[in-house]
């Protein structure tokens, strides 16, 4: 994993000092709230419904046990003993005091963490594939490229007051586990004739006008990677709309200009910037990549494969293959590039629980497991779960037992219980409706009826307003909270996907109240179960049979 050198550390420390000074000036009245707001926002400090909220970045979702333990400490010391992991691989604390915030940031800086650019109209935390560095199907580990971008985008002098926020995702496999094409810029690292380069997509996003990013360049040589990104951003900074904040995202610029014209402008700027020379020295990428060298995996003979695991635990009543443990192994582990290893998903979606929330005690359990069983590495997933990227199959029983004891053993990855839900009206000042109670009731209902496994892969995503933080546009089933004459109301949509088969969900029809939308979710899963052919996921069936049968069942 990447470690700060004295330069990186000094940057973060300088930022803490700068923020401490800004907070002081605010508390002394030298800054008005209007002036302070953009400053606190570039440090991830929001004012939400109940209190200030601090959003801490977890660059490309990677962290170690020391960092996770610090997140637990922050939760206890400055908050109320828990945090909320988000779809953008960040963590949010809901009860931070302005007068404590600089201290919390200083504590975070001791473990190479920060809240820099987790808000505001700047380049946000760079996200990536949560299986990066472990996935069997990746071309290379995308994280060195994401780290190169992290450094480039941190305190970028030209791009701190963009028309609007700017989100970048970097992946390196055909499979898309990071909603790459729903980002302002999506990058896929590829290899052509043995040469590494970057494929760029631009102008994707969710919010009120969801769009899938078109390809804007098929191959940028890797030693021009940052220069190309700079060109994309400069064109956007100069020409993105600033007259209307709802039309200010790059997706609107790309859409209004047309992809071809945007590409033309970017290419022109790119040629110019190549002549100026803004690319970091080549050796820098090599230096960063060294930090992401594969951990010293044990020889396959020292581990098991999954079949051996099954036979080893046979007869042990605490690790039943047909129940808890076996279900978890089947559902929550992912193939690893090293034989004898898997990546293990730690579900933050207990049935009836709050998606993405973890207590400080749970964070410490996870930190300990990472240290003992995963080469001290952890990931935050965009699905609001955590991940132990490199677990020896022989260690799975011990890992599961510890997770289960901490309430973290749910075997529900990518099922209807694995719901993405934004904070909604329980915390968020922009919300129309509550998302969390819906997620709680739906997951509880499916867990109780035992239909979760039957329904199989089904991605349900809930947002409390049109901003779409809960990715509802990309849900196989999406739910959007709206305000209907002062009452919470919910729109149902079907057929979205954030993966490599990306698509935007379509609204079924008139909205529902809370009970109504829960019943509606059950109805559409019944239509699916009745119509599916062998091996079809919900999404596949929807794509085959279309909206009509679902509409018919919902509205009669």
């Amino acid at each position: 994993m990447y470690r700060y050198d004295s330069y990186d550390q000094a940057m973060v420390d300088a930022r803490v000092a700068e923020f401490r000074d800004q907070a002081r000036r605010r508390l002394e009245g030298k800054l008005t709230e209007d002036q302070f707001k953009p400053l606190r926002l570039t440090n991830g400090l929001y004012l939400q419904l109940h209190a200030y909220m601090l959003r801490v970045a977890i660059p490309y979702g990677t962290l170690d046990s020391r960092q996770m333990a610090m997140l637990a400490t922050i939760a206890d010391k400055y908050d109320r003993g828990y945090g909320h992991f988000t779809t953008r691989q960040n963590i949010q604390y809901n009860w931070i005091k302005l007068e404590d915030c600089a201290d919390a940031l200083a504590d975070l800086a001791t473990v190479e963490m920060h809240a820099i650019q987790t808000s505001g109209n700047c380049i946000r935390n760079i996200s990536s594939d949560h299986f990066a560095g472990a996935a069997a199907d990746e071309v290379v580990d995308p994280r060195p490229y994401a780290e190169l971008m992290r450094q480039w985008s941190s305190f970028h002098p030209e791009f701190t007051y963009l028309p609007r926020k700017f989100k970048i995702a970097v992946i390196a496999s055909e499979k898309d586990r990071a909603a790459m094409r729903l980002h302002d810029i999506g990058v896929r690292i590829v290899k052509r004739d043995g040469e590494v380069g970057a494929q760029f997509y631009a102008g994707g996003g969710m919010g009120r006008t969801p769009m899938v990013a078109p390809l804007i360049r098929d191959f940028v040589p890797i030693d021009q990677f940052i220069t190309y990104a700079e060109a994309c951003l400069r064109v956007y900074n100069r020409y993105g709309r600033r007259d209307n904040k709802y039309k200010a995202r790059i997706k609107i610029l790309v859409h209004e200009l047309g992809a071809a014209e945007y590409i033309r402008q970017v290419e022109e700027e790119f040629a110019h910037l190549l002549s100026v020379g803004v690319e970091p020295p080549r050796e820098e990428l090599a230096r960063i990549a060294e930090y992401f060298a594969l951990p010293p995996f044990r020889h396959p003979s020292e581990s098991w494969d999954l079949e051996q695991l099954q036979s080893k635990v046979a007869g042990d009543p605490s690790f039943r293959w047909d129940d808890g443990f076996g279900q978890w192994v089947r559902q929550n582990t992912h193939p690893h590039k090293a034989p004898g290893y898997v990546s293990a998903v730690i579900s933050l979606k207990p049935a009836g629980g709050i998606p993405g929330d973890a207590t400080s005690d749970q964070m410490r359990v996870v930190a300990r497991l990472a240290k003992e069983y995963s080469f001290d590495e952890l990931r935050v997933m965009h699905t609001q779960n955590l991940l132990l990227p490199h677990v020896r199959i022989a260690d799975l029983p011990a890992v599961w037992a510890a997770l289960d004891a901490a309430g973290l053993g749910s075997a529900n990855m990518d099922t209807i219980e694995d719901i993405i839900a934004c904070p909604g009206l329980d915390y968020c000042s922009l919300a129309n409706a509550r998302s969390i109670p819906l997620a709680q009731r739906i997951s509880e209902r499916f867990a109780q009826s035992g239909r979760t496994e039957l329904v199989g892969e089904l991605k349900l995503k809930i947002s409390g307003c049109i901003n779409a933080c809960g990715h509802h546009h990309a849900g196989h089933i999406g739910i959007l909270g709206v305000d209907k004459k002062g009452k919470e109301n919910f729109q149902l949509s079907l057929g979205g996907s954030e993966a490599e088969d990306v698509s935007l969900a379509k609204i079924t029809g008139p909205g529902f109240d809370e009970d109504g939308v829960i019943a509606a979710v059950e109805t559409v899963t019944e239509v699916y179960l009745a119509s599916r052919t062998e091996g079809e996921r919900f999404l596949d069936t929807y794509r085959r049979i279309g909206m009509e049968p679902f509409k018919e069942a919902l509205y009669g």
Binding site: A10, M11, E158, Y161, R242, E279
Partner: protein, 153 residues
């Protein structure tokens, strides 16, 4: 040319200046007027103006003011860098909503004088200019970046 008479800031309004030459002491003109071939040595760029239109005239310009009517409009940062990248060496003045916390970024984009519409606290400003001992990106200030330093021979 009545509308250009009072355009621009005077040297008295400049609070910080990182140059030794004498400041231009006559009013600036709009970008359009420069294109219309006035002989003015000072021009003022508004956020919507395309700084690249000035490139053919850089030799004759001694002062370019970039106006920030609101601090949240960051187009002026690109304008500044574009001029410096094209070799402009005259005074580049940030005017308008120039706040403490913008100074270090503006400096990096090539601004070398600052005329905030509300005078800034000198001490806070001094601290702001000194915020970054090192920098990640190549920019108009031509400072060696952190990556450059890491790989110095």
């Amino acid at each position: 040319m009545g509308d250009t008479q009072n355009l621009g800031t005077s040297p008295d309004e400049v609070q910080f200046r990182f140059r030794d030459d004498e400041p231009v002491d006559h009013a600036a003109v709009t970008v359009d007027s420069v294109l219309d071939q006035t002989n003015a040595a000072a021009v003022r760029i508004e956020p919507g103006d395309d700084a690249r239109l000035l490139l053919p005239f850089l030799d004759r310009l001694a002062l370019v003011e970039v106006n920030f009517p609101v601090f949240g409009d960051g187009r002026g940062y690109s304008a500044a860098r574009i001029l410096r990248e094209a070799g402009y060496t005259g005074e580049l003045r940030a005017v308008g909503a120039v706040l403490i916390d913008l100074l270090s970024h503006m400096r990096r984009c090539g601004f070398d004088s600052f005329a905030p519409d509300k005078r800034l606290d000198e001490e806070d400003a001094a601290r702001a200019f000194a915020t970054w001992a090192n920098v990640y990106q190549r920019a108009a200030d031509r400072r060696a970046t952190i990556a450059d330093k890491r790989h110095e021979a």
